[in-house]
Assembly symmetry: C2
Homo-oligomer: 525 residues x 2
């Protein structure tokens, strides 16, 4: 790759944005990833854990160099960006812990049994990495959902080489982060080619269509994600496309909750929908609130009290799309502007906008009213009856999250039923911005929030880059260690239908007894 002069001439830069990757360069990066896969597919969890931890350590060490570049490119501020680096490196370390624990392999052993219908041979199953993975990061999390973010961390942890398509909104940061990560991985013993970085729109298209790429992780817009999803599915050999695309994240406030704590709720909403200039995939874009409680005005007061004025958005394009989106909503007869003049957005910035409508308007035209305006806006939908509010929530369609604010006396069951249908994460008395990285996290929901039945955040994100393989009547020495008798890798396994934890006496006993039954000497080939 060649480098061009940086466009921000006012600031001297040591890192310049890379020029678009050529087709030959792309082919070389993918070929290197394919060669690396021959090594990563046979690598141990301990090896990969050490690689991930080395990448995390290197990013932490480079934080003071990387954050200023990120701040210049994204305007998100040093405090937030420092926190995002910590989140990113904690995420890499969590995946290291998870692969060492070993459950993610779903190791399963069925000993031969002539009494089943049909009779079964010795079958041993586990998950295996898919191959090189393409990652398209998001503009709004230049660390945590970008070059070394969750898609990259989970794919590397699974044993897949990664090729990142750098985001143009933070091109210099991407290139520099990629250098840090690739250098740390290889220095820790990972094969050359395990991590590549490419740039350019056409390069991204070619990457999704590349014969050696086996899966894609994507975080971004509905339009861009759908276009790449379609390309992935139209290949001669379709590949999994894990996209996180768009969400309005409905919030339902019950009448009792408004009665009990309207101002607290208004303050909480104001803080959540303006956080990071509203540039969160979990931004609460639609709030169902009881009519007549003046909730909109309370939110306006909270926004005013926080002095949340115009703030620079990630890119001028994002700011322009936000201004156009909120102006379009505000121009409708059935939408009322509660706070700030949506038509007065300044170039490159976003100012908080609060709009109001009714459940009747929403149910009459959900498509027009419920689309993600990426930025600091929220649409308050006033309802008179919880059943109407739930009908409006159903009309929203799929979202990453859905939230209810209720009081102890409220009947939650019908509300939870509807929220569970439209979202992947259901929150109680909280705000959806903020996505913890943990074993139980789910960041993904019905279309259009994501394109798959998996998550892009949390430990089970690993499952996206693995496929099952079963070995039938394999000689013991030909099995991966994870499936051998005696459980040499000490991982949780299912043996003859029974989940067995490492260290459980049953594990070895079962395996030995059944191995003998099957005529397999534990150490013989």
């Amino acid at each position: 790759m060649t480098e061009t002069e940086t466009e921000t001439a006012g600031h001297a830069r040591t890192v310049a944005a890379p020029a678009d990757t050529t087709r030959d360069e792309l082919d070389a990066v993918v070929a290197a990833a394919r060669r690396a896969f021959a090594i990563t597919v046979a690598s141990t969890a301990a090896e990969r854990a050490s690689w991930l931890r080395a990448a995390a350590d290197a990013l932490d060490a480079a934080r003071d160099e990387l954050v200023p570049i990120a701040d210049e490119e994204t305007h998100l501020g040093a405090a937030r960006l420092n926190g995002e680096v910590a989140r990113t490196t904690a995420q890499l370390r969590l995946f290291a812990d998870a692969i060492l624990e070993g459950s993610y392999l779903e190791a399963t052993i069925d000993h031969p049994d002539g009494t089943t219908i049909p009779p079964r041979p010795d079958l041993r199953r586990m998950l295996r990495p898919l191959g090189p993975v393409a990652v398209f990061g998001a503009s709004n999390f230049p660390f945590a959902f970008s070059v070394a973010g969750g898609d990259t961390a989970s794919a590397l942890a699974a044993g897949c080489p990664v090729i990142v398509k750098g985001h143009p909104a933070h091109a210099r940061l991407s290139a520099r982060t990629a250098d840090v990560v690739a250098g740390a991985l290889v220095a820790a013993g990972a094969p050359d080619g395990i991590f590549g970085h490419v740039t350019g729109h056409e390069t991204g298209v070619a990457l999704v269509q590349h014969p050696e790429v086996r899966a894609v992780g994507f975080t971004g817009s509905l339009a861009g994600g759908r276009a790449l999803f379609d390309l992935a599915q139209q290949r001669p050999d379709p590949i999994p496309f894990y996209g996180e695309l768009s969400a309005v994240n409905p919030v339902l406030i019950t009448p009792a909750a408004i009665d009990a704590r309207a101002d607290d709720l208004a303050a909480g909403l104001a803080g959540s929908f303006t956080l990071g200039v509203g540039q969160f995939c979990t931004n609460p874009g639609v709030v169902l609130a009881p009519a007549g409680a003046g909730f909109g005005e309370r939110v306006r007061a909270a926004v005013d009290g926080a002095s949340a004025g115009p703030a620079t958005m990630l890119t001028e394009g994002i700011a322009a799309a936000f201004a156009s989106g909120v102006a379009g909503l505000a121009a409708r007869d059935d939408v009322e502007v509660v706070a700030s003049d949506p038509t007065a957005q300044q170039v490159g910035t976003g100012s908080p906008v609060v709009l109001r409508t009714t459940t009747a308007a929403v149910i009459a035209d959900p498509g027009a009213l419920f689309h993600e305006c990426f930025g600091p806006s929220t649409l308050i939908v006033e309802y008179t009856d919880v059943a109407d509010a739930l009908a409006a929530v159903r009309a929203v369609g799929g979202s990453l999250t859905a939230t209810v604010h209720a009081q102890p006396g409220d009947e939650l069951a019908p509300i939870v039923e509807v929220l569970s249908e439209v979202a992947g994460r259901v929150l109680f008395s909280g705000w959806p911005t903020g996505v913890a990285v943990s074993w139980a996290q789910q960041h993904g929901g019905p279309w259009p929030s994501t394109t798959s039945i998996h998550t892009s955040v949390g430990v089970s994100a690993l499952r996206r880059f693995l496929r099952p393989i079963a070995f039938q009547d394999a000689p013991h020495a030909a099995l991966p260690p994870e499936l051998r008798d005696g459980n040499p890798r000490a991982i949780p396994r299912r043996v003859d239908g029974v989940l067995v934890l490492p260290g459980d006496a049953r594990a070895d006993a079962d395996a030995t007894a059944a191995g003998a039954r099957a005529g397999h000497a534990p150490a013989a080939g």
Copy 2:
């Protein structure tokens, strides 16, 4: 649905093939499934297990009525079909056992922790059924991969209503099986609409595109499956399409294995590729054998010895496609006919065909030589060097299975590496026909054998019809029982990263301590 006269006028029938489902009828069936989903999504595993077992019992009871219909329509013979009913009902019962065990829910509890980056709230995650599922059964397994087959059993077990598109090759059996299954399910307490049956090509297209259908299971041809896959992905809201499409199932015989047991191998291959008139998705269609051992002639002798003459195939269309496929291969200069005249296939039947070529020919033109000829044929590819044989296997592309026949002294690692790359099940010293239904089974592999990273046979087939949902800071009473403190459903769960089995004292202790930490009274809402 109206009924038409059966076309087999020579045999009196009490069951007639149904006419094509109209669009209005289809909408009614899907609407009923959607209503049923409101009940099945909240049903307990115990309820669904009793429904599955009732369906199994009803099918067993109806066997003597169903098998004669199946034999007339498929010509597969009563012995095979009786066995297939037993397999089908054992499969329904295995899924009942699996959902009672509960691991399939992936229940995961993370208690609040302010020390993580970012801090985490109380998060509890499990899997939830997707909604109504469309099932397209196969022609070649009229019970086990059809109306009440693996796709149906796993979807029902997951909590999804099922709408089967009946296969025209066994239309009367499909309709009658559907009656038995639907009746048994509802009699056992399942909601009306949990099981529907529709017919007609256009109906199938409309079913895949229906807004209320949330996933598709399909077993059939590459062309038909690809067309429906494309429709599913082109929807405004793409849905998962689980297709099992096409496989040539390569078999590699090492020189040492040929030296040790050439005639046994020839007999085994002859038995496997002619089983069920070769109409198995796991038919060994390509066999890599050492040159100069006369393996083809040994296979011919084994076929001749078994007197495997022409046998009626499932449909005249399948027989015609088989005749055309093998004739096309036989006409090539680089393919030699070893057994039977491929151009002399009789209408409606298949006669065993053994063809022979070389690794050089295969590597020069893999696309032409490696495509599934659905029927009793096998292509022996002679090699002089195992490395050439492995290059040919790589050229085969994705398959359901890959097999090696080796001897104790053979170096297996490089062979297993390549077989693992192309297939979902790797067999040692066996034949791929015959797919046990168990916890460790994997029936699915790289494209074009299947369209997903999941399996269509075995317990983990459940995962295809579930999506994750996480509850954040939920009041205890609003949680599904599977995620409540104290583990009232007694299922395996992961608590704060640690896998805990029911009955393990740690389970309740952890949950209670952490529940207190989180301020959740175990029984309070």
